[in-house]
Symmetry: C2
């Protein structure tokens, strides 16, 4: 087994790398990076929206039973569990962004377990900082990333440990902005940016040719998809602080 980690770029310039799947994360020294977790459909989008709407914190957990365990210890928490794109029976909600409105989440703590996003988050926990990105907070996120004197690793949550197009396209949208500042891309960042250039005129249309789109359509969540592809309706940046995702203080 070849195991060699990808070093940040030499020469002092900042680098932007894209990890196309959680299964590739061991190839990076995550402790050398500010990490952005990307799970466009729908965890990272809903988390951005929930934090924007005043959720006091979101606790990502790995297993459905870890989520359920909060029912007795913290009856005031909202419990969100999703597997294979569906709300798990007996839970308040999953990760549809429409469950993360101000009315529902303002001032609340949410415990969340999702298929792919939580997985990527857990694997990245040694990073310098971990923030969450989505089209909803793209520009705010990029403005903040540009101010960090760090290499950036964009981690695509993917679908069941494999590559997916929507997370990669969003990574490309971030890469586009960081390249303007002279960040050095790795091959995956170049690819993500080029794919974003191909699809950016109408991302929803572009993604219709994907298998994931078919899968999501079967789940009846086209409205969620449309919602998650809106640009810059949020300015909050969710950041992992201890075991909880909170709003990054300005």
């Amino acid at each position: 087994m070849i195991k060699e980690r990808t070093p940040p770029p030499a020469g002092g310039g900042r680098g932007v790398n894209v990890c196309l799947s959680p299964a590739l994360i061991s190839l990076y020294n995550v402790e050398d990076y500010v990490v952005v977790i990307i799970d466009i459909f729908r965890a990272s989008s809903s988390i951005c929206y929930g934090i924007e709407n005043g959720a006091s914190g979101i606790i990502p957990v790995y297993l459905v039973k870890d989520c359920a365990a909060y029912r007795d210890t913290h009856p005031d928490y909202l419990l969100a569990a999703e597997r294979d794109g569906k709300v798990v029976d007996g839970f308040d909600f999953g990760n549809s962004p429409f469950s993360y409105t101000a009315e529902k989440v303002s001032g609340k703590t949410i415990v969340l377990t999702t298929t792919n996003g939580t997985h990527a988050l857990h694997l990245s926990r040694k990073a310098k900082k971990i923030v969450l990105g989505s089209f909803l907070n793209l520009t705010a996120l990029c403005d903040w990333l540009k101010k960090q004197d760090e290499n950036i690793l964009l981690v695509c949550a993917g679908w069941k440990n494999n590559f997916n197009l929507e997370d990669t396209l969003f990574a490309g949208a971030v890469v586009e902005q960081l390249l303007e500042l002279g960040f050095s891309p790795d091959d995956a960042a170049i690819a993500a940016n080029d794919l974003y250039q191909t699809g950016k005129q109408d991302i929803n249309e572009y993604l219709k040719k994907t298998s994931h789109s078919e899968r999501l359509k079967k789940l009846g969540i086209e409205k969620d998809i449309e919602f998650c592809l809106q640009l810059d309706i949020c300015t909050a940046i969710p950041i992992l602080h201890g075991d909880k995702i909170v709003k990054l203080a300005e």
Copy 2:
């Protein structure tokens, strides 16, 4: 750890999937596929060229010492070993295509260990059939793939277990041809094809922006790169037969 394998497409149509890195291969049931191993710079290109030029067989081995072991048992074999893009000291040659001319390899058996290609080959060994692809034999390969009544998995050898652009671009060139016949692509196949469409007008120029290109330039093998990007100068298809890569019989 999420481990779920990607099934071939439902509905009876043939699928074309792209495995973007050997580190993702456990996500596929390789035994359900005809696998194409892709290591454009330079193993799969040189193997295509060597088989075209009459090498009687190429034995891929995992370790340099496994390669060296043939020195005593088979003094007539040519031994090729490459690590990090360089010929290992004490070996006849590595994987520059210029070492695989008819003059050098015709009628010979070659034992080869390379950084990425052999790794990908070993991980795919349970596939229905394993062939090798490169720009050198693109059309011959695609014509043959179209005649197989099987799902196709294009395995990019990548660079040290991570994504690279040149292998992905070639995968995209194959996907382009298979889509014309109605094969169903997965997300990675869609991405590979779209990247190929972006770069196909001048692949050498496109790849110049990659990190790997910089790395290869430092190794002084620009001529190899140019060679490996030639289209359809070969018609032979190398296939793994037992432990040996041989010419596919028509």
